[in-house]
Amino acid sequence: MSVQNWTYIIVTITFAIYIGIAIWSRAGSTKEFYVAGGGVSPLANGLATAADWMSAASFLGMAGLISFKGYDGSVYLMGWTGGYVLLALLLAPYLRKFGKFTVPDFIGDRYYSNVARTVAVFCALLISFTYVAGQMRGVGLVFSRFLEVDINTGVIIGMIIVLFYAVLGGMKGITYTQVAQYCVLIFAFMVPAIFISIQMTGNPIPQLGMGGSVIGENVYLLDKLDGLSTELGFAEYTNGSKSVIDIFFITAALMVGTAGLPHVIVRFFTVPKVRDARKSAGYALLFIAILYTTAPAISVFARVNLIETVSNKEYTSMPEWFSKWETTGLITFDDKNNDGKIQYVADKAENELTVDPDIMVLANPEIANLPNWVIALVAAGGLAAALSTAAGLLLVISTSVSHDLIKKQLKPNISDKGELITARLSAVVAVVIAGYFGINPPDLVAATVALAFGLAAASFFPAIILGIFYKRMNKEGAIAGMVVGILFMLFYMMKFKFDWFGGGTKEDWWFGISPEGFGTVAMLANFTVSLLISQFTPDPPQEVQDIVENIRIPSGVGEAQEH
């Protein structure tokens, strides 16, 4: 059976499961819509958090990116997992004890100020929208390549599916579909990895195969790859080329950004108790780590396979996958010296092949000649990853509007039913906007996703940490810190990514820190400003200080939940 038929079958089955779950678990109240009624088990929440967190970028993009960057790609691996340690130790238990529905809720109440709440809503919306556009793009990519529909039709189909279960089920529907999506995506990620690991190294565990030796040759896989890379003029795979300071700051920005992302934080509001919040953070990272430790192995396998398949080979002898990806424009070949062979080298003037890193995970099973059903499975896994993250983000957007803006500020008397309808309507609007950006992506999708992490690091993280660990932090300090952090981050991104404020090149970066790593600097600026300002302004009122005392103690969650 052809790849396309297999894809139709597997995608249809998985979509039917998601829709079935959505109907079974639809939300009846705002509490169910926002936090799944607060009754999700830690295991289910861990699975859902893992699916929520692992987006099209983790599933489709990351292994490919590492495959081209080698050691430099470690920033994503450490950054996107290390953030969970911060989340589990510094945020999740206390925010759960606080027991509200959203991150702006915490900021607004802890800093007794609607200005702080509004700043937080603005950040949450900005972060979530930039992120969700990328997910929709991922959905479109999978549809266009494997079901051979137009990329826009793909985006629209994805929109309808997400709309269905996000609007109907709210957090409750999303949680249980995400559990199913985790199972689909991890199975889809692991099967080809195991197959290829056995093929190349004889070891069925990819994490070990990566450090094993190549079958039939007396050489370690990583040594072989280092050799191939230097031969073609690339940096040694295990050494990379970024500066130490940049690697350090990017890793920190991604870690702290992860811990500050609203769609991840809200997941910890859905479990019954503080101890469940800790436990589900542990489960979440465990489930994430399965994919994140496999990804670098896939990167190595894919890189070796790609070089061996294309380097110095006749263009006419390329396998079928090569031409299929060529038609999408994601692989291009330009025979500069007209010898009919593919020269794939680091030197830009001589290099004849460009491969978009985004396709490596999708193309990998084809490059390794795996059976058609495995290729189809990977497509379904990519969709699961993109849809689950998109749904989580859309929920944050709709909650920010219906709860933090309308219920908490504009129309406090709105009934629970009215609020639920508003939440559903905002979800619909959010899906449509996200779909629009999926179809007409800004040129800077990748840049803006990095911006999302920088913004989360520069705004939410310090405000939440200080809110928990520093009782005397007041609204003046927190608001000033958030505003300075965001503006500082935006300024640097715009200067070096969008060429505003005089622009600048790599040589002009401050201390050699790239815009991706600047979130760390902006975060430090936020901390400094917050602490400084709070020294010269009045202490927070006693009842706020009592709240802080209260969230530090894990027992008595029930009371805190009441509004």
Binding site: I66, S74, M78, L89, G212, R275, R278, L286, P554
Partner: protein
């Protein structure tokens, strides 16, 4: 619930955090980034050690750290009667 008890509980909690976060920092930022070149001279099978920490080891340690934290805190909650 006495204020004294709360303060003591919080202090022990902070001590755990300091220890666990130091390990978190060492395996990723020190082993995976700052000392990566030095560690790369040591090999375990096909892996250079620094590279292994950056792409595998740090992640395993992160997972273990959270589960140790869960155990420590559950014990601490019990000790102070904050478990439910």
């Amino acid at each position: 619930m006495s204020l004294e008890k709360q303060k003591k509980y919080w202090k022990e909690n902070l001590r755990y955090l300091a220890i666990l976060l130091s390990i978190w920092f060492i395996v990723s930022y020190v082993f995976g980034i700052l000392l990566v070149d030095q560690l790369n001279t040591i090999r375990i099978g096909g892996f250079k050690l620094g590279f292994w920490f950056a792409q595998q080891g740090a992640i395993y340690v992160f997972v273990i750290l959270i589960f140790i934290y869960i155990r420590l805190m559950n014990k601490l909650d019990k000790k102070y009667g904050f478990d439910e």
